[in-house]
Amino acid sequence: MPNKKTSVPFTGTAEQEAKLKAVIEAQKGQVGATMPVMQAAQEIYGYLPEEVQIMIAEGLDIPLTEVYGIASFYSQFTMNPKGKINIAVCMGTACYVRGAGDILDDISQKVCCKSGEITDDGKISVEATRCIGACGLAPVLTINDDVYGKLNRGEIEPVIDRYIEEEAKGKA
C-alpha cells in the first residue's frame, strides 16, 4: 500500500517551517486553501510527514483528519521522503505487460522496501509510477535521474548494487 507512515526521522529546518508558515498565512481563510498549501508543503519538504500535516492543520485551523484524508486520497501526495537512491518503476500499460510487476517485486525484495516506502536507514526508496512516456524502452525504470530500459528480470540488481556502493563511497 502506498502512503504508509514513514519511520525515517523528520529533519525539517526552521527555514522550511518559516516558508510553510508564509504559505499558510497567504492562503488562510480562502475557500479551498488546503490543497494548495499541501502542495506547497510537499514542495518545501519533499513529502508530508505527520509533523508537517499537523503544522498545516493547526495553521489552517482544520482537523488533522481532513489533511490526512486528502494526503492519503491523492497518489501525488507522499508521506515518505525520497531516499538518496530513488528507484521508480514504470507501471504504465506497456511496461506492465512486459513484466514491470515482476521487476518491481524483485527490487522490493532485494532492498527490503515495499513500493511507496523507504528503507529504515533512509537510503533507498522504491515507487511505482504511472507511464513515464518511454514505452519504446518497456519495461523501464529510473534510478534518480538515470533511465534503464528494456530490462529483463535479474538485470537491474547489479545496477542497484553499484548505486549502493557509490552512495557509500560518497559518504566515506
Binding site: 523528520f10 509533523e51 482537523p63 481532513e66 489533511v67 490526512y68 492519503s72
Partner: protein
C-alpha cells in the same frame, strides 16, 4: 413561506420551495429509503439508495439532496427505480460482513431493514472472505470496519456536531475506510468518547464497549454487594429498547427490572444531581462574590470535560471542580452508605447505568477517590446494554410492575430529574442559587428561556441587584462557538455545557433510532420534554436544597457544601491533555 406544487407518483402536493424531493415525498405519505442521509448533518447524496425518477431528468436523481421545482413530477416506485436501488443495495451488501445473527444491531439495523424492504433474497456478489476488523482501543467504543458501509454519518457528526473530527475517510477507491490520521487507533486520538458516532451509525460498525460481562460477574459473586445507580435520561429512553414510543417514561419498570436482574439495591443518580446542585451552587455563589474564574462552566458531562482538557485547556480554571452526579453518587455510596450498612467499600460494587459512553472513561479518570484505593464507580453500562441485559434475562419489560427506588439513595427532586436535558443543570442550579442569594422563595421554578432544543441559549437574571448572565450550550461545536465568544471578551457568569446536542437524553449510549426516524422527528425535544414532564409529575419537591434526603446527608456526613469533606469526596481536578497524543511533533 414560498410554496411550490409537485406531483409525487401522480399525486399533487404543495410543499416549501426549498424542500428536497425526500421531504416532499414525506408529505405525500411516501418514505423514500435513505442510508447516508442525516438531516442538516450529512446531505451528500453518496449512497444512491434514495434514487427516484424525475420527469425530464436525464438520469435518476438522489431524493435526499435534489431540490423540488414548481410543476416537478417525481416517481418513486417505477421498475427502473426499484432495479437501481436494489442493485446499489446488493453492491453495498457485497462488501458488508453479514454476521447479522450475532450482530449487536440485529433487528435494529438500517441496512438489514433495507434488505428486507427491497426484497433482497439472494446475494449475487457475496464476498465470503470478509474478516472482522475490530478496533477496540477506546474504553468507550469499538469499531468494526468490515460492517462499515462508508455512509460517512459518523465522520459528519464527529466533525460538524462535535468539532472533534478524530475519524474521517482515509485513502481512496476500494481501499477507502473510516479511520484516524496515520491509521492510529481511536484510543490514541483525542477522542472525547461521546458516542455520537454510534447513535448515527446505520449498521453495527460502531458500538459501545460492552461491559455487561463485568456486571454479570459481580452479580454472580456472593461476596459482593452490588448496587445500580441510574441517570435521569435512562428512564425516558429505555422503553425504546422494547418497542415503546419515544419519550415513554419507564422509571418504575426500569427499577423493577434492575431488581430482578439481581441488584441488591437500585439507587438514583438524581440524588447525586441534587448534591451537585448544592456544591455547584455554593461554588457559583463563591465565584460571583470573589469574581474569580468566571464564567463558571459545568462539569457534569465527561465528553465535554475531555474536550476541554484536550481542545480548550485555557478554560480549565473555569470548570466547576464538582465531580459529576455519577461520581458524587458513587463516592457517597462508598464513603458513607457502605459504612452505614456495614459492608467493606471494596465489596460494594457500584454499577452505573448511563445514557453516555464517555462515562466509561470518566470512572477511569485519575482523580481523588472518596475511599482511597477504591473506585467511586466500578462499572458503567449504557441504556442499550441494560436493555440487552433485560432481554437476556427474559424479563417481559412491558408487563413489569412499577417499583420505587430504594429510599437510602432514592429520594430526589424534580431539579435533579431535569439534569438529563440541555438547560436542566442550569435551571436546577438557579432554583437553589436564586433562593440562597435573595433569601426569598421563587415565585415560579420554571426557567423556560433555558429549555428547548437550540444549540446555544442565553439569559440574564438580576440577583440582589447584580445582573448575572448565563448561557446553556449543547453539542461541542456549539460549545466551541460560545467559548470563542468568551475568548473574544464577551462576559458570562455561568455556562452549562452538555457534550451531546440536546444533552444526555440524546447521548451516545441511548437507544438507537434510525435515520428514517431522526430525519423527521426531533429526539431532543421528545425525550427532553418527557424529562420535564416526569420531574413535575413524579417528584413532589422541585428544588434540590429542599430535598429531605439531601439535607439529611449533609447533616449526617458532608457538613457544609464546599466544606472539607465535600472537597475530599465530591470535587476533582483537571489537567491539560495533548490534542495530538502520541504524535511525534506534540510539543
Amino acid at each position: 413561506m414560498n410554496t411550490v406544487k409537485v406531483k409525487i407518483n401522480g399525486m399533487e402536493i404543495e410543499c416549501a420551495s426549498n424542500a428536497t424531493v425526500l421531504e416532499a415525498a414525506k408529505i405525500a405519505g411516501i418514505e423514500i429509503p435513505t442510508l447516508c442521509y442525516l438531516k442538516e448533518i450529512n446531505a451528500i447524496g453518496a449512497c444512491r439508495i434514495c434514487m427516484v425518477e424525475v420527469k425530464g431528468a436525464r438520469t435518476l436523481v438522489t431524493a435526499c439532496v435534489y431540490p423540488v421545482t414548481d410543476g416537478m413530477e417525481v416517481f418513486t416506485n417505477t421498475p427502473k427505480v426499484r432495479e437501481a436501488r436494489r442493485m446499489t443495495l446488493e453492491l453495498i451488501l457485497s462488501n458488508h460482513r453479514k454476521d447479522c445473527l450475532t450482530c449487536v444491531r440485529n433487528l435494529n439495523c438500517e441496512l438489514q431493514k433495507l434488505a428486507i424492504d427491497f426484497g433482497v433474497d439472494g446475494l449475487r456478489f457475496a464476498d465470503d472472505n470478509l474478516q472482522a476488523a475490530v478496533e477496540s482501543s477506546s474504553v468507550c467504543l469499538t469499531r468494526d470496519n468490515s460492517k462499515c458501509v462508508l455512509c460517512r454519518r459518523c465522520t459528519a457528526v464527529c466533525k460538524q456536531n462535535q468539532d472533534v473530527a478524530v475519524i474521517g475517510p482515509n485513502n481512496r477507491g476500494f481501499a477507502t475506510h473510516i479511520g484516524s490520521p496515520f491509521e492510529r487507533d481511536l484510543g490514541e486520538m483525542a477522542c472525547v468518547g461521546c458516542g455520537q458516532c454510534i447513535v448515527s451509525c446505520p449498521t453495527g460498525a460502531l458500538t459501545e464497549r460492552d461491559d455487561t460481562a463485568t456486571v454479570y460477574e459481580a452479580l454472580a459473586d456472593e461476596t459482593k454487594h452490588v448496587v445500580a445507580i441510574v441517570a435521569p435520561a435512562v428512564r425516558i429512553a429505555l422503553g425504546e429498547c422494547f418497542g415503546m414510543p419515544i419519550g415513554t417514561n419507564v422509571e418504575g419498570k426500569m427499577v423493577a427490572a434492575l431488581r430482578r436482574l439481581g441488584f441488591n439495591e437500585v439507587f438514583d443518580v438524581l440524588v447525586g444531581a441534587d448534591i451537585t446542585v448544592m456544591e455547584e451552587g455554593a461554588e457559583l455563589i463563591g465565584r460571583l462574590q470573589s469574581g474569580e474564574n468566571l464564567p463558571i462552566i459545568t462539569s457534569c458531562s465527561p465528553g465535554w470535560v475531555s474536550y476541554c482538557e484536550q481542545y480548550y485547556p485555557e478554560f480549565l480554571p473555569n470548570l466547576s471542580t464538582c465531580k459529576s452526579p455519577q461520581q458524587m453518587t458513587g463516592a457517597l455510596l462508598k464513603v458513607y452508605y457502605a459504612k452505614k450498612i456495614g459492608v467493606d467499600p471494596k465489596n460494594l460494587v457500584v454499577v452505573s447505568v448511563m445514557p453516555c459512553t464517555a462515562k466509561k472513561e470518566e470512572i477511569r479518570r485519575d482523580h481523588q477517590q472518596a475511599v482511597p484505593g477504591v473506585n467511586d464507580v466500578d462499572v458503567v453500562i449504557t441504556t442499550r446494554e441494560l436493555g440487552r441485559m433485560i432481554s437476556n434475562a427474559g424479563l417481559l419489560f412491558q408487563s413489569l410492575p412499577d417499583e420505587d427506588f430504594d429510599p437510602a439513595f432514592g429520594i430526589s427532586t424534580g431539579a435533579g430529574y431535569i439534569f438529563g436535558t440541555s438547560g436542566g443543570v442550569m435551571e436546577a442550579a438557579l432554583r437553589t442559587v436564586v433562593e440562597k442569594v435573595t433569601g426569598k422563595p421563587l415565585e415560579k421554578v420554571e426557567f423556560h428561556e433555558l429549555r428547548g432544543t437550540q444549540g446555544i441559549k442565553e439569559a440574564e437574571y438580576v440577583l440582589d441587584g447584580t445582573t448575572v448572565k448565563v448561557a446553556v450550550v449543547s453539542g461541542l461545536k456549539n460549545t466551541a462557538a460560545l467559548l470563542e465568544r468568551v475568548k473574544a471578551g464577551e462576559q458570562f457568569h455561568a455556562i452549562e455545557v452538555m457534550g451531546c446536542p440536546g444533552g444526555c437524553v440524546t447521548g451516545g449510549g441511548q437507544p438507537i433510532q434510525s435515520g428514517f426516524t431522526t430525519n423527521f422527528n426531533d429526539l431532543r425535544a421528545m425525550r427532553g420534554s418527557a424529562l420535564h414532564k416526569g420531574a413535575v409529575e413524579t417528584r413532589p419537591v422541585q428544588k434540590s436544597h429542599e430535598s429531605p434526603l439531601v439535607l439529611e446527608i449533609y447533616k449526617d456526613v458532608i457538613g457544609e457544601p464546599g466544606g472539607e469533606n465535600a472537597h475530599h469526596w465530591l470535587h476533582t481536578e483537571y489537567k491539560q491533555r495533548p490534542k495530538y497524543p502520541g504524535f511525534v511533533s506534540e510539543k
